[in-house]
């Protein structure tokens, strides 16, 4: 069944079962592999994308639930060659190690910035606790967040 999605400002049509999670439509059908598979049950956060600006687990979102919503993946976060401030902060703080979870970490930071430019510590913890990192880059994520959240 064909479903129309709005991904990074572009209308795309995916011919998949309506119950297929966005994660797999992005990765396997559209070939957009910046969104990462980690657990498939919303426990690790690696598959985070922005839906209407809010950090969302794409492994739990069937494509049928996303009609008319604006989806932003890591591939759509920068503006041309100009990195998003979160991406820039991540580079400056040399955050990534293996890098698998980092698109999700960056998008979660971008979502935080968009919703509350000066979140308190509890709000930052709530948002970032949802995205696991096995390499242990959390301290650098904290440093990068300080730069882009100005707190």
């Amino acid at each position: 069944m064909a479903t129309e999605l709005l991904v990074n400002g572009r209308k795309v049509t995916v011919d998949v079962p309506p119950s297929m999670p966005l994660l797999w439509a992005l990765r396997d059908v559209l070939g957009m592999t910046g969104t990462k598979y980690g657990c498939g049950i919303g426990a690790c956060g690696s598959c985070t994308v922005l839906v209407d600006g809010k950090a969302t687990r794409s492994c739990l979102q069937p494509v049928e639930s996303l009609a008319g919503k604006a989806i932003t993946t890591i591939e759509g976060l920068a503006t041309g060659d100009a990195l998003h401030p979160a991406q820039q902060a991540w580079v400056e703080c040399s955050v990534p190690q293996c890098g698998w979870c980092q698109p999700a970490q960056v998008l979660t930071a971008a979502s935080l910035m968009a919703q509350d430019p000066r979140p308190d510590a509890a709000a930052v913890d709530r948002a970032m606790d949802g995205v696991l990192c096995r390499c242990g880059t959390q301290q650098r994520i904290r440093a990068a967040l300080k730069r882009c959240l100005g707190s």
Binding site: C39, S94, G136
Partner: protein, 705 residues
């Protein structure tokens, strides 16, 4: 199907068994001594005196990175070695991922050896290219090469003020003699090595452009998942795959050496259809095997003598000497790797050859494995190594390659095998569970005699006969740096059905816990400070002692907060030395919080300080996760942890603040990637003992209460 370890063959590992704890290390390092001349692949118009470097006419310097980038920074650190001697413009240096090829030496990425093993060869490659460029410029300008200098990708001639970019000299340089053994720079004159040069992998990792093995997309590619027997030692009794076959998008459901393979057009469909397979399994030899039953076997095993793997002075006989006898047991559970990028392998078998795309720590071993499985020459197997989304030792195993090849040989299109998170946690090659007993005689303010018994299933050879001596089973306990005059270490392998493998820092990950907790217990019994006891026992080891002193200085700069206790641990591994202090408290609900870790490390000469710090920060989180939460549970030989909820990782708000101080105790680099893990658990346990007034000797700490 039985997986093999990807770095050394089973035979090599068995041979190494006779060499004691250093055996595996020797196996991996053996290639170094051969130093045979490598074939340089054709690099076209570029200047390429070595397989590792090509200076292009457009000034680009390509550096082939013959190790796997998995977050430890080889895409930056290894090109830096070439660029240092070449005086390359760092902005023009481009890392290149080679295929599996003997031209790049041993590509296995393990035992924290990437920089150490290529330290001389890569600098030599840079020096050779530089000398040829200088000789070309001297020819061109009709001057002496001795009058020429190099700077950021240019040859300069001071007397005449002339300058030429490397690219413009490439054609002439190619005609110069290749210098055999160029002189290398003294470390005191390094200009790039030792700086935090901009990393080569970071931008792609924040834009989504970095391509990992699981990101490979090929025309017509199918996806496959395997339904495996949940019980180690078990087997399939009967199955009904008709419902799975009926799922739209399913291409085939196949018998597979490891169970049943479901092949579909996309991963989601394959995973959904797998749930529709009805299978009945028999636990086989896994029946009755639980984590507790294995722990009990290990505990019993240390009641009797093991294989003597190391001793000093009079060895264990000295336990009979007068003094206070102190004895303590420590136990550690099985642990999973839980790499964030799930395990996978894409295989395409066509035209009498096989192509693999995989995140691997050992491309050449994967090539060999596929060649054996398909009965073709290794040269007919092309391995495309990809960025690795977390390795930690898991990706030296060839299980996923063998699994993928067994499926792909039934199709003429590429097949991407995907392991779900459940597959990963339940079919890993686990860090073995271990039981330690240390007995020591304390007298006159110090430790006089020492016997350390270790029982743990062998790494990889989990089902070997009981007399098998795992070459890494006692590493970190043997060669005790502490000046105990009489000491012995005994190791006992206990065969089980549970697959085991290399887990970041391997044997050190459990031996350091026992030794460093025991040191604190000995200090308490002797009524001296943990720091003072270690310092006096390290009297003959100035490098180690300097690290201990460095962490003590850090401690003075960061006093302990109220309600917080501090614990010390020290451990040497992979040619480096690390001392750590963990600040631990309990929150209102009694949960353990590691609020801060102070870390001093002597990793010898440091190539890129920020990458070393980043590895230590990460290792501390990795170690703390294991110390607090890590435990794989078994029931009838089946792992019951299936998700991150049952195998939790430290979250953002739970990670400690880390301070790292680097001490340079040598002019050669030491290992970096694993060295931060061993001291974490004992530092936390020692802090917790101080905080609670009672000691927990069994990991994980959070569940033990």
């Amino acid at each position: 199907m039985s997986a093999r370890v990807g770095l050394v063959t089973r035979r090599q590992l068995l041979l190494a068994g006779g060499l004691g704890g250093a055996g595996l290390l020797l196996g991996v390092w053996a290639w170094r001594r051969r130093r045979k001349k490598r074939v340089v692949p054709d690099r076209g118009a570029a200047l390429a005196p070595s397989a590792f470097v090509a200076v292009e006419p457009d000034d680009t310097v390509r550096v082939w990175v013959g190790k796997s980038e998995m977050g430890q920074g080889v895409w930056t650190a290894l090109p830096m070695l070439v660029a240092e001697e070449l005086d390359a413009d760092w902005d023009k240096v481009l890392p290149v991922q080679p295929l599996a090829d003997p031209a790049y030496g041993q590509m296995g990425t393990a035992v924290s050896s990437s920089v150490r093993s290529l330290w001389t060869e890569l600098r030599t490659a840079g020096a050779m290219a530089r000398l040829m460029l200088v000789a070309a410029a001297a020819d061109l300008w009709d001057c002496s090469a001795a009058e020429c200098t190099t700077e950021r990708g240019h040859v300069l001639h001071g007397p005449s003020g002339r300058s030429a970019a490397y690219g413009s000299l490439v054609a002439l340089a190619k005609q110069q003699r290749v210098p055999e053994e160029p002189a290398l720079r003294a470390p005191s004159t390094f200009r790039l090595v030792g700086t935090d040069a901009p990393r080569k992998d970071v931008r792609d990792k924040v834009t989504g452009e970095a391509r990992f093995g699981l990101d490979v997309r090929l025309p017509g590619m199918l996806r496959a998942v395997v339904l495996r027997c949940p019980h180690f030692g078990g087997r399939l009794v009967r199955s009904d795959t008709s419902a799975a076959r009926a799922v739209p998008g399913v291409v085939d459901v196949l018998d597979h050496p490891n169970g049943i393979a479901v092949v579909a057009r996309d991963t989601w469909t394959a995973l959904q259809a797998r749930m529709a397979v009805i299978a009945e399994w028999s636990p086989g030899t896994g029946a009755g095997v639980t984590s507790d039953s294995i722990a009990a076997q290990l505990r019993t095993a240390v009641d009797g003598p093991g294989n003597l793997v190391w001793s000093r002075g009079r060895g264990a006989v000295a336990l009979g000497t007068p003094g206070k006898l102190l004895s303590a047991d420590y136990s550690l559970p099985y642990l999973a790797h839980a790499t964030m990028e799930p395990i996978h392998c894409t295989a395409w078998i066509h035209d009498g050859m096989c192509e693999l795309w995989v995140s691997t720590q050992s491309p050449q071993a994967m090539q060999q494995a596929a060649a054996r499985a398909l009965d073709i020459a290794p040269e007919r197997v092309v391995v495309h190594p990809m960025f690795v989304g977390g390795g930690f030792g898991r990706r030296v195993m060839d299980e996923e390659v063998l699994e993928a090849v067994a499926i792909a040989k039934r199709f003429d299109v590429p097949v991407q095998l995907v392991w779900s998170r459940e597959d990963d946690l339940q079919h890993d090659f686990y860090r073995p569970a271990a039981h330690h007993r240390i007995e020591a005689v304390l007298d006159a303010g110090t430790v006089r005699a020492w016997r350390h018994r270790i029982a743990a299933p062998a790494v990889v050879h989990h089902d070997a006969a009981p007399d098998f001596v795992c070459p890494v089973g006692a590493e970190g306990a043997t060669d005790l740096a502490y000046a105990v005059p009489d000491a012995a270490v005994e190791y006992r392998h206990v065969p089980t059905v549970v697959p085991t493998g290399f887990w970041r820092s391997v044997g050190h990950s459990h031996t350091a816990f026992a030794v460093e907790c025991f040191l604190d217990e000995a200090a308490a019994a002797l009524q001296v400070s943990p720091f003072a006891l270690r310092r006096s026992l390290l009297q003959d080891h100035p490098r180690q002692r300097a690290v201990l002193d460095a962490v003590e200085r850090l401690a003075q700069r960061h006093p302990v907060a109220g309600g917080v206790a501090r614990g010390l641990a020290f451990h040497s591994s992979f040619g480096s030395h690390v001392a750590m202090l963990a600040d631990v408290t309990r929150d209102a609900r009694g949960r353990i919080r590691v609020v801060r870790v102070l870390c001093a490390a002597d990793t010898g000469l440091v190539v890129h300080p920020d990458l070393v710090r980043s590895q230590l920060e990460g290792a501390i989180v990795f170690g703390a996760t294991a110390a607090l939460h890590g435990r794989i549970d078994l029931q009838d030989g089946a792992v019951t942890n299936s998700t991150h909820l049952a195998y939790p990782l430290l979250r953002f708000s739970e990670t400690p603040q880390v301070e790292v101080e680097l001490v340079r105790g040598a002019d050669e680099p030491g290992g970096v990637g694993e060295i931060g893990v061993p001291p974490v658990a004992p530092a936390i346990a020692n802090a917790l003992a101080a905080l609670d007034g009672s000691r927990t000797r069994d990991l994980p700490l959070q569940r033990a209460r």
